[in-house]
């Protein structure tokens, strides 16, 4: 097989660079317009509470679709074939579930940040732990976007990595800081439209060029006329490569992690009513379904094309599949549009991530050290911290980790091990308390670091890609964190030393939980049961034990 290295690039980069400049100018104009609307710290980080379900759904989808999905998605599918396809679609469930179990509850008590909820519910220590873990995860997440942008410019325009990174990084950080959450709302909507078109139009043209009539009409799921030819060249394409345990590990790890992604939860707060907040989900599903199914279509074509041409792709080139395919089957105008789409995917995700880091730094770290800050000073600090977090991330990206998508997945699972038990159980049970929360939010992430292959190789749970992504270790550590949270809470409330402390803590937390669920009075029966907590402990013991059992995670 031939080796493909930088086979396809822009012969005349003027078109693509022109499109990028046009997009940058547009995003800056929107940012500058939005700056005039930003008066308070809430405006900066949360936005106005007037955004309807349609706009919010598309904005959340834009913040969710990162460069790792736009480019890295096809790379992972190319590597793991069918299994990863299911993984991507799985994440469509994130926002509906997040709203269902958590987002609406925060909305009712007017708490925009989940970390603020943890602090109000369990006190400062679990709040700080969750803030640090979320901050690290958001920076890892943002890192992937900056690296991806620089690599894209490197491969397509032959720009040097570091100058490309610094130029794109500074431009992106500048416009996000300028516009705040209000600017992010308008910009993310525009960016989502650009990236949806940038996937759809080339997909239609590529299927047309390949002779797939049904694929050109309905590129999301219409390429079945290419399946016989694909199976002839590559009979194992549709084979399942993941075991049931691998899928289960994926559910536990990613779902719990994504429930805690601050920059998505915070969007709920911009809805005017609970009904409008619930209406985010259907639009999110439509937008994500549109994007995710097209990414699969590209991956199908990529495998088809490279099997047919006999060209072997190096791992480092897998992230370039989408622009390469576009350049092979269409022209440089469409290719330029795809580059604009990829950049839109990166910065739409960065919108939320950088503002999330700014929110944590301003409210949950600096705001806790200096409690008497005026709103005007918080706005000023907010601008500075958002820009600083962005610049630090750009500097880290100069010497990046090897495979960007893996670091993002690992980070998402990491946040779930620390925050999911505290947030989910904290909003549904009055019986869990700060003692359990402190231990769970520490034991979860520490055990996850220990059992993942990146740090202590000898005590790793699982092997290969699933362990590297954190799904096998995440299955164990998330279950362990839930067990710790429940058991330590129930033990602590029986210990004489803690009885009075927990009694005092419950005076405010009981009212908070009732209000979250829409009740004006505190009942001694609601959210008091321990029965379902014991059921969760038993289930989690089973899950943790399953993750430790010998046997494969992926089928070779």
């Amino acid at each position: 097989m031939k080796e493909a290295t930088a086979l396809y690039f822009f012969k005349s980069p003027i078109i693509a660079v022109g499109m990028l400049i046009a997009c940058t100018v547009l995003f800056y104009l929107i940012g500058a317009y939005s700056k005039n609307l930003t008066k308070t710290a809430d405006d900066l980080f949360v936005g106005k509470r007037t955004v309807g379900g349609f706009v919010n759904g598309f904005v959340v989808a834009a913040m969710y679709v990162s460069l790792s999905m736009f480019l890295g998605g096809a790379a992972l599918i190319m590597k793991l074939k069918g299994a990863i396809m299911y993984m991507w679609l799985h994440w469509i469930v994130t926002v509906p579930l997040m709203l269902c179990v958590f987002g609406i509850l925060l909305y009712r008590v007017k708490i925009p940040s989940p970390i603020q909820f943890v602090r109000m519910r369990f006190g400062e220590t679990p709040g700080i732990i969750c803030a640090v873990v979320t901050l690290v995860t958001l920076i890892m997440y943002a890192l992937g976007q900056f690296i991806g942008c620089a690599k894209l410019f490197e491969v397509l325009f032959s720009w040097q990595y570091v100058p490309g990174l610094l130029l794109s990084g500074l431009l992106i950080v500048g416009y996000i800081t300028l516009g705040g959450q209000i600017g992010a709302t308008y910009n993310a909507l525009v960016q989502n439209m650009i990236l949806m078109l940038a996937l759809y139009v080339p997909a239609v043209l590529i299927f047309k060029a390949l002779g797939s009539t049904s694929g050109a009409i309905f590129p999301f799921f219409g390429y079945q006329d290419m399946v016989p030819a694909m199976l002839e060249r590559y009979p194992t394409f549709f084979n399942m490569v993941a075991t049931p345990r691998a899928f289960f590990g994926l559910i536990v790890s990613v779902l719990m992690g994504e429930l805690c992604l601050l920059h998505l939860v915070v969007r709920t707060f911009s809805a005017p009513t609970v009904r409008a907040a619930r209406a985010i989900s259907p639009w999110f599903i439509i937008s994500m379904g549109f994007t995710a199914t097209l990414v699969f279509a590209y991956s199908f074509v990529a495998v088809y094309h490279f099997q047919q041409s006999g060209i072997a792709l190096a791992d480092k080139d897998l992230d370039k599949l989408v622009p390469w395919l576009t350049l092979i089957y269409t022209n440089e105008w469409v290719g330029g549009f795809v580059v604009a789409g990829a950049v839109a995917a990166a910065i739409s995700a960065l919108n939320g991530q950088l503002l999330g880091t700014g929110l944590i730094m301003t409210n949950d770290i600096i705001g806790r050290i200096k409690t008497a800050l005026s709103d005007q000073r918080r706005v000023r600090i907010g601008y500075i911290t958002t820009a600083l977090c962005g610049l630090v991330t750009v500097l880290i990206a100069i010497n990046p980790p090897k495979f960007l998508t893996i670091s993002i997945m690992w980070g998402i699972t990491f946040i779930g091990t620390a925050c999911a038990p505290v947030m989910v159980l904290g909003s549904w049970s009055k019986r869990v308390n700060s003692k359990g929360a402190i231990l769970a939010s520490l034991i979860g992430p520490i055990s996850f670091i220990i059992v993942s292959p990146h740090f202590v190789k000898s005590i790793c749970i699982g092997s290969g890609l699933w362990a590297a992504l954190g799904f096998s270790g995440g299955m164990f550590s998330t279950a362990l964190a839930f067990i710790c949270m429940i058991c330590f809470s129930l033990i602590a409330e029986r210990m004489p030393a803690y009885k009075q402390v927990i009694f005092e803590e419950r005076k405010s937390s009981d009212q908070l939980i009732e209000t979250m669920h829409g009740w004006s009075s505190v009942s001694k029966e609601r959210y008091e049961s321990t029965g379902w907590l014991y059921v969760i402990v038993v289930v989690c013991i089973g899950v943790a034990a399953w993750s430790l059992m010998p046997g494969p995670w992926l089928i070779k």
């Binding site: 069918g82 396809m85 299911y86 679609l89 799985h90 469509i92 469930v93 509906p96 579930l97 269902c100 179990v101 999301f220 799921f221 079945q224 006329d225 399946v227 549709f238 084979n239 399942m240 993941a242 075991t243 049931p244 691998a246 899928f247 289960f248 994926l250 559910i251 779902l255 609970v274 009904r275 619930r278 209406a279 989900s281 259907p282 599903i285 439509i286 379904g289 199914t293 669920h517 829409g518 009740w519 004006s520 009075s521 009942s523 029966e525 609601r526």
Partner: protein, 92 residues
């Protein structure tokens, strides 16, 4: 127990059931078929609309399926919210 208290209890139970049942359905919508197909390899031999069954079901359940399920959930949850709001306001 008076009528209002009974209604409150019922409303609370409905909230719990709605959240638990629909959370499970949402997860099943997106990934249930894959686990089933991985656990029962015979399913992988069945084809639908030109693709393996688990592949087709992923598309159908994850997008239109999830959408329908969400609309049902939202309708029931909104109704339950309204009922609770009525109960809570009549208390005042």
């Amino acid at each position: 127990m008076d009528e209002k208290e009974k209604k409150r209890k019922q409303n609370y139970k409905t909230e719990i059931y709605l959240t638990c049942v629909f959370s499970f359905i949402f997860v099943f919508c997106t990934l249930g078929w894959q686990i089933l197909a991985a656990a029962v390899p015979k399913i992988q031999a069945v084809w639908l609309f030109g693709f393996p069954l688990q592949y087709t079901m992923m598309f159908i359940l994850s997008v239109p399926g999830l959408l329908v399920m969400w609309l049902i959930y939202a309708k029931l949850a909104n109704e339950n919210d309204e009922e609770r709001e009525a109960l809570e306001s009549s208390q005042d």
